[in-house]
Symmetry: C3
Subunit: 436 residues, 3 copies
């Protein structure tokens, strides 16, 4: 990491500053005083009304995704810090990429919606990050951020402006897209040497508790995610209500199925941490539609069920047979539930429940999201495979000590350097003390 | 847990979906565009204005209560996860129970107030959960959720609609009710075998730090809890201000008294984690009244003092003499301060400070909340005592390994199964590594 | 701590209640119903619109600052709990101090702005707390809270009302002030005995992860901090946008420079935890000015760079040469970036970008903030040095066991008391188990 990482990071930041200088401007008509004798809504009104929803999404991106990925026993520093790095770059680049496409290359203004959408664009990369967690370097993640958000913005434009499909909670354009993009990258970067697993690829007691911080903040604020850019009034209201109840229903089936499929009927933290969120993903596309709360709960229930089954059966199958190793199981939390979300919207429209879009448009949006994700992910994977991005060797996967001075890495070096023959027990005790 | 828990959980979720299908409808008149030339407030206006307060309460329920209970050294997974399970079921069932009582069995609409009140109803169960933490199974908690919320909704109807009492922050109807309900259940489920304590019923360094996450989010957002359903304008404003200053005052007396009663004048984390919140509970009933901030601070100060004394002297007395073992000390955080809240409102009305209710109404509300809680709790306790709900044996109380595959449970099984005579020190070291 | 701490804490709380009784009143005109046919904005409108921003700041104060300081391996309890104690006292005293100065000693009303400003005043003390963390007693911190907020309120009055300078995000009046006040106190309380460092003054794996909770919540909500008391409309909007992008830019340079200056190009958690926030501090004074987003990003980038360099080179220099030991490195997170913020505002005004103030006014504000901080800090330090405030001896610095019954302190006493010659390894293992 001596010079390459700093140079790439600073280079990208300079590029962002230049691009902002060229294209980004403040909103113009904020100057009407708040509520003062006004008969039309001002932009600033909606700014402050939407700002709390933006902050909820912001917490999801940085605390939610960040801590959700700290479940690995020796990769907490990297999970939460690379998450922050990706998101900080991503929200700048997402502002530019989405703004330029929308404005056809002209200067554009940024308001609260643009801030929310910038955060959304980073979510896509963070989902993909989950698939390659522990097996890639920070530089690779910076590059993936740039490439993935470019493809994401393109697909979003297709879905919204060309196909005119409806995807308010972004089940397809963020969740399915992010998952399949990440799986494609993970497939290209597959490591045969880790076919039998890796000693660091497991959680310990406290790492699982830290991950629950992420889970809970994602769970709590998901109604804001699905409603933040919805049309004010009925539709925004429904997006909140439907997501709230879908998530609640999802929890019960996720727990039930976890207990059903695990040894002796016990529960599994991976399922609790992830599958309880699948209801938020799956109800996303339909969230603002007039589907009634009980249908939202049905969608959530199914998502919880499918997600746990995915963790139990599909993830091992992907790793062994398809040679796609998905560290966080993003396919089960974002991929499958995202597809369920798209299919649910098709069903809702086919059954005449919702009229905001057509079956064809929704099918195109689902196909486009998965298609561009896989193609974009494969190309990105090939670029990331170029052996100059400091990808960690198999031995150092899932290990903070590659990027951080952690005490146990100092100890490890001592052991190796001094070829100490000392008491192994004492050394392991030191390692233990280094953690606590 | 093989089949019973999954069946109960799925059965309850199916019941919820059916009930929502039968009774729950979207709000109707959200369709007036936001602020557009309107001369009357629309429901949607207040929806988005109250939504941040709802989200604050939501954080309290899932992160606040969830992490507050992670203080036990080997029960963090269960605390935070069963908390999520209870709350997810409770908010669905609370919506139904409160809605049906309010609508006299007709279909009803759900808006932001119903979402807030659904979250409130789960708080009651989570308080009771604190009293039986570590000694009950997930199935028992699902059953308690159903029974307690039914009784809660009944008492709330009594207090609000029949007695017409005032209890904006729910000191009586949630806090005192939840605490005495939980104590009654704990009394019925008393385990003589644990009279001398249990080796797992203690905290360790990091479990206490995790608990502080819960404490702080509860503390921060308590003004939202006490004001979320208050009448807009003066009263909502006062509910926020009074709670804010009551909590601040409570911190100082809680710390002072903790130091006074502890060995060598040290502080005690249990007091910091819990008694600092008593000011939020105790000011609840009076929160929207015109009591002046300094009276709110006085109420908070007294609550902090009483709460610490409760932890120091009353909890051991309850456990040894009354045979009621209260794991989290909910009597000191919710029970006593809830009663103080009710009494404070009586005093405020008697002294002519507030005119929103009468002394008689408030006294009825306090009596009804404690009475229905104790009766409801005793009946619930008897139902939970039926030996088919997989209640853990004494030996496995306060132990995640009953419900989760944790590494130390694997180790324990290895020791037992292989009757290893190996170095005990090595095994304990392994156990230590399993945590970190 | 036997009686002194409880007496001081209770005495201060009684004083606060008396002062509130004498001076604090509710806002008056909240009684116009919300939005009802009104043609002018009511105070209550802005109350609920600003309340979410207040809650964001509230989270920063209690969770943000509180957990940020838990990075020390044996000082987590004290960090998060003394933080709560300081803030709880500070927000009461800050309300009084700021209110009395504003009202020239008359009774005054409190609304949402006063609540936000009360929280702000505590931030100043919490910053200074970072400089003396682990080396002072709770009583000393109570005294510092009273003294520092008095000086802070005086300087704020000077800057706002006399100099009429502009400092919306309080880069100068809170961040630079808090840092230099703390450094002055730390200088007076310098301990020659700890010149070579202290065995407890280091982080371990989980303490660093807990600190990241603080970092992330500070980072996320900083736009609210910089905009909460801004003029509604354009300026509040710009304060949010500028802070959002400044922070994002800051992350990239902080990571880059951290990797540049560290051993083998690794990253350093201290930098990630702190320097990523410097962009929020540095853009503060200019946040509501019309500087354009790319300039905000430039300010953030520079702040990230300077902050990391400060941690690497300046903190050791301060400790060794200037005999000022700054535990959390507040000079690098708040001091230097605060000064950058003031200078950036001077540049913006000199270049004609912003017209809200003049170069002279801003220079006076910067000078006054640093000057009063240093003088106030020196006097406070001298008062705290009086040997009756139970300052911990060198040996017990950075050690929770002075104030808390932690398991490892029990173990330590056992070792000392029983002069056990037993296996040291076993004892250390016990100590390890006490943590987990």
């Amino acid at each position: 990491m001596r010079f390459k990482f700093p140079l790439v990071a600073i280079g990208l930041e300079v590029a962002m500053i230049v691009l902002f200088h060229l294209y980004v401007q403040y909103e113009k008509d904020q100057n009407i005083p708040l509520h003062l004798n006004n008969t039309r809504p001002t932009k600033m009104d909606s700014f402050l009304l939407l700002y709390p929803l933006f902050q909820d999404v912001h917490v999801m991106i940085f605390v939610g995704f960040g801590f959700l990925m700290t479940f690995l026993k020796k990769y907490g520093f990297s999970s939460v810090s690379i998450n922050l790095l990706i998101a900080a770059l991503g929200l700048q680049w997402g502002t530019i990429a989405q703004g330029l496409i929308q404005s056809h290359g002209q200067k554009f203004h940024i308001g609260i919606k643009e801030m929310i959408k910038a955060d959304f664009s980073t979510a896509t990369v963070l989902i993909s990050f989950g698939a390659v967690l522990g097996k890639t370097s920070p530089i690779q993640m910076l590059i993936m951020t740039i490439l993935e958000i470019a493809v994401f913005a393109g697909n979003e434009f297709l879905v919204d402006e060309i196909f005119k499909a409806s995807d308010i909670g972004a089940s397809m354009t963020i969740h399915a897209f992010g998952a399949y993009f990440g799986l494609a990258v993970a497939g290209v970067l597959y490591r045969s040497g880790l076919r039998e697993g890796h000693k660091n690829e497991e959680s310990v007691y406290y790492s699982d508790l830290f991950a629950m911080i992420g889970t809970l903040f994602l769970w709590i604020f998901w109604p804001s995610f699905n409603s933040a850019v919805a049309e004010p009034g009925d539709r925004q209201y429904r997006a909140i209500i439907n997501t709230y109840f879908s998530l609640a229903a999802c929890v019960l089936t996720a727990y039930a199925v976890s207990s059903l499929v695990m040894h002796r009927g016990k529960l599994e933290m991976v399922h609790i941490q992830n599958a309880t969120l699948a209801g938020g993903v799956a109800v996303g596309t339909c969230a603002d539609m007039n589907i009634q709360p009980y249908i939202a709960m049905l969608i959530g229930s199914i998502a919880g069920l499918i997600s746990v089954l995915g963790y139990k059966f599909l993830t091992p199958f992907f790793a062994s047979t398809l040679r796609i190793h998905d560290t966080c199981g993003v396919h089960n939390l974002h991929g499958l539930p995202g597809v369920i979300g798209g299919l649910a919207s098709i069903a809702a429209i086919a059954l005449g429940v919702a009229h905001v879009s057509t079956v064809t448009r929704q099918a195109k949006a689902l196909g486009s999201s998965i298609g561009t994700a896989i193609v974009g992910g494969l190309v990105t994977g090939l670029i990331l495979k170029i052996p100059c991005w400091e990808q960690p060797p198999d031995e150092y996967c899932y290990d903070d000590s590659v990027y951080w001075e952690v005490l146990y890495s100092v100890l490890k070096e001592n052991i190796n350097d001094k070829s100490t023959s000392g008491n192994l027990l004492t050394l392991r005790l030191h390692a233990c003390n280094a953690y606590v």
